[in-house]
């Protein structure tokens, strides 16, 4: 530690830190633009010039290392003169269009100009003009003339997003920020550049010109999408969500959010919102009052209980539902006498049910990922499934960690990968077994014959803080339990943390709320069994069965055959074809609730706006249903009361445990035929994001195709670009074939969760592809 003095205040700071860091510690503000605590130092704007005693000229605080005994003045005559000079230069080319600028009111340049700029400019010559560029649906660069070339956006791409999509072309006066020949910016974290831009050069395209920043009220919330639970600020005007920005939380999302978190709000205002309770009468949908709709549901459930038994009622919910909703749903079901309740809709292997010691979680705090020095990521479309967790692993790799991959698709993770085993889904158990054997062999200095497995084992054995992480693909895999057991054994051998990358906002919370069939006083069927043996009545909480389920084909058959389907949904969806009742419920911005993220952090939030139309928070709807059906213990007066009962008094951490006992490893038989590999595209994963118009226009939301390796395409006799007929379980769809060098042989990759592929069957398994 060294001591330095800033404006007369003594500060102790670590060796190697800069004057800027020390100033932050001392609570002294130094104006700046290009400096950002999460980015590398550029020292290009020169706004942070300060006077350092014994230095002959002003020095940039962001790039000057603090030295013992240094005396810094941030407001001395020399410093102020330098700052004012820089300010005048920065404003030379900056247009004076603050009154119509989207950034107005929340602009760093505007604020600093107020403090350090002059009232008028001495510059009378022509200003520089930069032509607008087209870089995609999310970021507008229409006013690039406002750019002050701080290069924050460029550095963000290089350092955080892992891909340099923006750069500074040309030089001196002609220098400008642009993408490579007007290509679009496709990073799943790109929206953060809008926040980073200290001026109004990069603005949010969906939000532009819809409100001034001072008209917006800011309400805190939590992301309902991936398992991270990013902290959000919902910006609201006239009871409408107009934009979403991050709230800094170093332990969760740092100061970033993914584009999915940021732009999905458009879905909340979509014309597909369900705003009135509806009942189908004689094949026609009729809008009714809440009382009538709920009475109808209660009667229907009572009748089915009486005639067929309560076990003929099933409830499915998405893991994007809140703890309160999931808890009341299972309590209602169990109160009726049915244990058929599940939220693990894309899971296919339930053999670990009841054998696992607790809820599947990350196995460590999120922030600890950055400190790991070895990773084994199994079965994960990491960048698209957990964009910010991928970013943390990327930061660790940058510091020297080694990332190892076992997966069925070799997607570009935008970081160096030490070793990878890209194998067909059916081979994953074998590959992990080989890694395990190789690790054992290392201990006894033996040999194994799988080179990839051996090098992965060597990498893992060489680490001190190792993390074994299971992605969505591994959790959806038909042998998920075996994969988990193998990974746990690998983790034991290299003293690693073993965890799951949570698929959805409440993947942990759903278990804690008891929305699984194998806990509680009444037990029942899991999500798969409920479809295998079709039930008479289905309660669907937020679920769109043809998009949210492991096997959409089977789900649709079960729904169509059921006597009664009740949809609790914020949106009108395909369920209108087979449902009997549509109950409009509030999405996360319109209700209070709790999500438990993948590290077991329970984060509660309040509604940011009033529910749209007649929509009501789902926990209230379920409470009334409980009362109507005379189930005991449904007298809650707040969502907090529900949460406290759901999560109990014991700390959440005590109920998190990935240990599985009693699942045997069976050597996988070689699977015959072409195998399907499915990802759930990032902007198809849940109901809200599917309706976010701008995100749906991005490249990540492109129409699904059939991807296969060159060898596989040749075997099938198709060319990349041909339309092919894909058949699974007797149903066919037509898709375009596409060459992918990033797939193993014997597989085709077809996205799930998309209407174009909803007619197909399970996410894994045999599939046939032929020329159309």
């Amino acid at each position: 530690m060294i001591n330095i003095e800033i404006d007369g205040k003594l500060v102790e700071t670590e060796r190697g830190t800069t004057v800027m860091d020390a100033a932050h510690k001392a609570g002294v503000y130094i104006p700046h633009f290009c400096y950002h605590k999460k980015l590398s130092i550029a020292a290009s704007c020169r706004m942070c010039l300060v006077e350092v005693e014994k230095a002959p000229k002003p020095l940039p605080a962001c790039a000057t290392p603090a030295a013992e005994g240094m005396k810094v003045h941030t407001h001395s005559e020399m410093a102020v003169k330098a700052q004012q000079g820089v300010m005048e230069f920065l404003l030379i080319n900056h247009p004076l269009d603050c009154p119509i600028c989207d950034q107005g009111g929340e602009c760093m340049l505007q604020d600093v100009a107020m403090g350090y700029g002059g009232g008028a400019s001495r510059y009378t010559e022509e200003k520089r003009v930069v032509s607008p560029k087209q870089i995609g649906e999310l970021i507008s660069t229409n006013e690039m003339s406002r750019c002050i070339q701080c290069t924050r956006c460029v550095r963000f791409g290089q350092e955080i997003a892992g891909v340099m999509e923006l750069g500074m072309a040309n030089r001196s006066e002609h220098a400008q920020i642009m993408s490579f020949v007007n290509s679009s910016v496709d990073s799943e974290l790109s929206g953060n550049m809008i926040d980073l831009c200290p001026v109004g050069a990069l603005t949010s395209r969906p939000f532009r010109y819809t409100a001034r920043s001072w008209e917006l009220s800011r309400r805190k919330s939590v992301s309902p999408h991936d398992g991270l639970g990013s902290n959000l600020a919902i910006h609201v005007k006239d009871n409408k969500v107009l934009r979403v920005v991050p709230v800094e939380n170093e332990a969760v999302n740092e100061c970033w959010i993914s584009d999915k978190d940021r732009f999905s709000y458009e879905g909340l205002n979509s014309p597909e919102r369900l705003t009135r309770p509806m009942i189908k009468q004689g094949g026609q949908w009729v809008e009714v009052e809440w009382a009538a709709a709920l009475e109808y549901v209660a009667n229907g459930l009572r009748q089915i209980t009486r005639s067929a038994g309560a076990e003929h009622i099933a409830a499915l919910a998405t893991p994007h539902s809140t703890v309160e909703e999931l808890y009341l749903l299972q309590k209602l079901m169990r109160g009726l006498g049915s244990g058929n309740v599940d939220y693990r809709l894309r899971q296919s292997d339930f053999s670990a049910d009841g054998k696992q010691a607790g809820a599947s979680w990350l196995g460590m705090p999120v922030a600890e990922i950055n400190q790991c020095d070895r990773f084994l990521v199994v079965g994960s479309f990491l960048r698209k499934d957990q964009p910010l967790l991928a970013q943390r692993i990327r930061q660790a790799v940058k510091k020297g960690a080694e990332a190892n991959i076992v997966h069925a698709a070799d997607d570009d993770l935008l970081m160096p990968i030490a070793n990878k085993a890209i194998v067909a889904p059916g081979e994953m158990v074998n590959t992990l077994t080989q890694v395990l054997e190789a690790l054992r062999a290392l201990k006894s200095s033996g040999e194994t014959d799988n080179a990839a497995a051996t090098s992965i084992a060597q990498s893992l054995a060489g680490g001190e803080r190792v993390a074994i992480l299971l992605g969505n693909f591994a959790q959806q895999h038909p042998a998920a339990a075996q994969i988990a057991v193998l990974c746990e054994q690998i983790a034991v051998l290299c003293r690693a943390k073993f965890g799951y990358l949570g698929e959805a906002a409440n993947s942990v919370g759903g278990y804690l709320a008891g929305a699984v069939p194998f806990t509680g006083d009444v037990q029942g069927m899991n999500a798969q069994q409920m479809l295998d043996k079709p039930r008479k009545a289905y309660l669907l909480l937020n679920v769109e069965p043809e998009l949210d389920m492991y096997n959409p084909q089977q789900a649709m058959r079960a729904m169509s055959a059921a006597d009664m389907v009740v949809c609790l949904s914020a949106f009108k969806h395909k369920g209108m074809d087979y449902a009997d009742v549509m109950l409009p419920i509030a999405p996360f911005t319109e209700t209070s609730g709790t999500f438990v993220n993948t590290e077991g952090r329970a984060q509660s939030f309040k509604g940011a706006v009033k529910p749209l139309g007649d929509a009501r928070p789902a926990w209230k709807v379920l409470r009334v249903l409980g009362n109507l059906l005379e189930v005991a213990g449904f007298d809650y007066d707040s969502s907090e009361a529900v949460r406290d009962e759901a999560l109990g008094a014991a700390p959440v951490a005590d109920r998190l445990n990935n240990h599985i006992e009693g699942v045997a490893i069976a050597a996988a038989a070689a699977s015959s035929g072409l195998q399907r590999v499915s990802d759930v595209p990032i902007y198809s994963a849940d109901a809200i994001v599917r309706r976010a118009a701008s995100l749906q226009k991005t490249r990540d939301a492109a129409q699904p195709v059939v991807m296969a390796s060159a060898a596989e395409l040749q075997k099938l006799g198709v060319q990349s670009g041909d339309v092919v007929k894909v058949t699974q379980n007797g149903a066919s769809v037509q898709l375009t074939a596409q060459l992918s060098e990033r797939l193993p042989e014997g597989v085709v990759r077809i996205a799930a969760g998309h209407p174009a592929t909803a007619a197909l069957g399970a996410m894994f398994g045999t599939i046939t592809v032929e020329r159309a």
């Binding site: 290089q158 891909v163 340099m164 999509e165 923006l166 750069g167 500074m168 072309a169 040309n170 030089r171 993408s179 490579f180 020949v181």
Partner: protein, 159 residues
């Protein structure tokens, strides 16, 4: 695709740098492409990016920063005239005016027969010979007068 010859040249260049610093060869790579084709197309920059394992935008940053790289066809012979301070003080404006009338083109343009392109350049570090121009970035011609320019053009015409 980069031609085999260019790939050979780049590979030779790469030996000068540490194995994990392949992008150090980007300037040479761009030069090799321009020497062979006369200019550097977008696809060439993408190819170089793939070859050197760097972002294509980073290649474009370099290519657009230096005036020696032609990002559009600039004729068989490119004349680059320095317009920085020393040359301006020594009358480069007259030099340029003469060149423009003789060739019948403006800055950044190519003669109709595709033989000669004219572009503006930055200081070439030979201010003692101002005003100055370079031929295809290989040969410098200084102390330009109208007569000398006519001689240069006549020679180019013959070759």
């Amino acid at each position: 695709m980069l031609s085999a010859h260019i790939q050979d040249q780049i590979n030779r260049e790469l030996k000068k740098y540490p194995a994990d610093q392949r992008q150090s060869a980007v300037m040479s790579a761009l030069r090799f492409v321009q020497d062979e084709k006369g200019w550097i197309a977008t696809e060439d920059m993408s190819d170089i990016a793939v070859f050197l394992g760097m972002p294509q935008m980073a290649v474009y940053e370099v290519a657009s920063f230096y005036h020696m790289y032609n990002l559009k066809p600039m004729g068989k012979t490119t004349l680059t005239v320095c317009t920085n301070l020393s040359c301006t003080l020594c009358g480069v404006e007259d030099t340029l005016a003469h060149l423009k009338t003789r060739l019948g083109i403006g800055l950044g343009e190519v003669t109709a027969d595709g033989k000669i392109g004219l572009r503006e350049g930055e200081c070439m570090g030979a201010c003692k010979d101002a005003p100055i121009l370079s031929i295809n970035n290989k040969k410098l011609c200084g102390r330009l007068t109208n007569e000398k320019i006519d001689r240069i053009l006549a020679e180019l015409d013959k070759s």
